[in-house]
């Protein structure tokens, strides 16, 4: 029997999952996503939904994102988000 290490379970032993993954997105003049590069460049044919999250404004790194549920030319559905703090695009399942 291996003895229990009695190590305290700290926050840093928790690993977050489903973190936003950076992707390259081309925007239209109005700021909507038109092309996305996931392995290869793909055209976005439709934006199904759009919503905004503003949260944790009391912290030093607040959260401000716009999410787009988009359909690619291949028919694949994807959730993209634009981080309004650093203006970068991310992919994340919602």
């Amino acid at each position: 029997m291996v003895a229990d290490t009695r190590k305290t379970l700290r926050a840093d032993t928790l690993k977050p999952i489903n973190l936003p993954e950076p992707v390259h997105v081309e925007e239209s003049q109005s700021g909507l996503p038109v092309m996305v590069q996931i392995k290869r460049r793909q055209r976005i044919i439709a934006v199904e939904d759009r919503w905004r999250i503003d949260d944790e404004w009391w912290r030093t790194e607040s959260i401000s994102r716009i999410y787009y549920a988009v359909i690619l030319a291949s028919g694949q559905r994807l959730v993209l988000s634009k981080n309004l703090i650093d203006n970068c695009w991310y992919r994340q399942s919602y």
Binding site: V2, L9, T13, L14, K15, P16, I17, N18, L19, Q92
Partner: protein, 392 residues
């Protein structure tokens, strides 16, 4: 209990003299390596200011002319065990846990030996004259050891009745307590045992803790340390001399494998395995290396035992090219079966957690995780779930 103590002063040196008669004419220091440090194990009696356990460097600073000799511990124990075997023919209660120091229980021996003179001469018969045995008889190990120390070779001293009278002029340095306590006694101006006798146990206990009580008891001649007689056990030892000195681990392991195979033949048929062994090597410069190896589960065959030994040998540097090596089986055991639980799923989970923890110990840090809900209601996707170590 009446105890007879036999002291064989400079035992390792006397053993070496038996092999090499020439060393009588020169000053010798016998050294023993503990890790990277070399310590004095024994020395010629004419070399003053040396003591056992002193660092070699310190010893050489006062006796640089002395000839150095590496200790051959297995050989000393072989000689010592022969003496103990011979003494066991005189008394069944023989304790020999330290080289050159023997305690014998005398209870009941008066039925065989009519008085102390006859007992002592019987003991002298069992010990070769070259060892200059000193014998002391008293109630308890400590007084008997002191009686032996204060006695010339060839005769014996008995302490009967008033032990405190015998102890009163002796230095506190003879007390078998820690060096720190001895220094502290001197700081308090307590240099002889007689000075301590006049104190009550309370203040001593207050200053020295449990050791204070022991000090008080010893100076009052009370020593209830039990005698641990030797137990009869099957001695399984194998050793070999290599055809040429080597540093190659493969060659050393091959030799160990041969020794293991030879050892296994002796107890394999009883369905037993090795629980622990002492592995020793001797380099061509006569340096001794020894390691005790324990097996988590008794090793039932050569292959299992060798894989563990290989791990140790890979991480333990040898003092030099190896010339001779040997093993001594110090523990035998039977294979343990794992009891199956009626509720197999519960037991399976326990075993799984055990294996995961073992994996963590070997590889360091958590290795397997489970997905856990943290804030499933959160609007921020990465806050909803997290991975937590499976073993916690």
């Amino acid at each position: 209990m009446k105890i007879l103590c036999i002291l064989l002063p400079h035992f390792p040196l006397k053993c070496e003299t038996l092999r090499h008669a020439g060393i009588n004419s020169c000053s010798v220091i016998i050294t023993r390596a503990i890790g990277s440090q070399k310590l004095v194990l024994d020395h010629s009696p004419e070399l003053n200011n040396l003591c056992v356990g002193m660092p070699l460097q310190q010893a050489l600073s006062s006796h640089g002319e002395a000839e150095l000799m590496h200790a051959d511990i297995p050989y000393y124990w072989t000689v010592f065990n022969e003496i103990l075997d011979a003494l066991e023919e005189k008394s069944p209660l023989v304790e020999g846990t330290d080289l050159g120091e023997v305690y014998i229980g005398l209870d009941g021996l008066h039925l065989i030996y009519e008085d102390d003179d006859v007992t002592v001469s019987a003991m002298h018969e069992a010990i070769p004259a070259a060892f200059d045995a000193r014998i002391g008889i008293a109630e308890g190990k400590f007084p008997s050891c002191l009686a032996a120390q204060y006695n010339p070779a060839g005769s014996y001293k008995t302490i009967d009745g008033n032990i405190t009278a015998f102890l009163k002029d002796l230095s506190c340095d003879f007390l078998p307590v820690s060096l720190k306590s001895k220094d502290k006694l001197h700081e308090f101006g307590l240099h002889t045992m007689g000075q301590i006798v006049s104190l009550s146990p309370g203040p001593l206990q207050a200053q020295f803790g449990p050791e204070g009580k022991r000090i008080w008891e010893l100076v009052n001649g009370i020593d209830d340390t039990p005698l641990y007689p030797r137990m009869r056990e099957e001695n399984i030892e194998e050793n070999t001399t290599l055809s040429s000195v080597t540093t190659s681990l493969d060659v050393i392991l091959m030799a160990i494998e041969t020794l293991l195979s030879r050892a296994f033949i002796r107890f394999e048929s009883k369905g037993m395995g090795m629980r622990s062994i002492n592995l020793w090597t001797r380099s061509w410069l006569a340096e001794h290396w020894e390691r005790s190896i324990n097996f988590k589960e008794p090793a039932m065959n050569t292959k299992t035992a060798l894989s563990r030994i290989k791990q140790i040998m890979e991480n333990a540097p040898q003092p030099g090219p190896i010339e001779q090596l040997g093993i001594k089986v110090t523990g035998l055991g039977c294979q343990h079966g794992k009891q199956r639980s009626l509720f197999t799923e519960v037991r399976a989970n326990d075993h799984l957690l055990n294996d995961i923890k073992q994996l963590e110990f070997r590889l360091g840090g958590p290795q397997l995780y489970r997905v856990k809900e943290v804030e499933p209601w959160s609007r921020i996707p990465e806050r909803r779930y997290a991975l937590t170590p499976l073993s916690r």
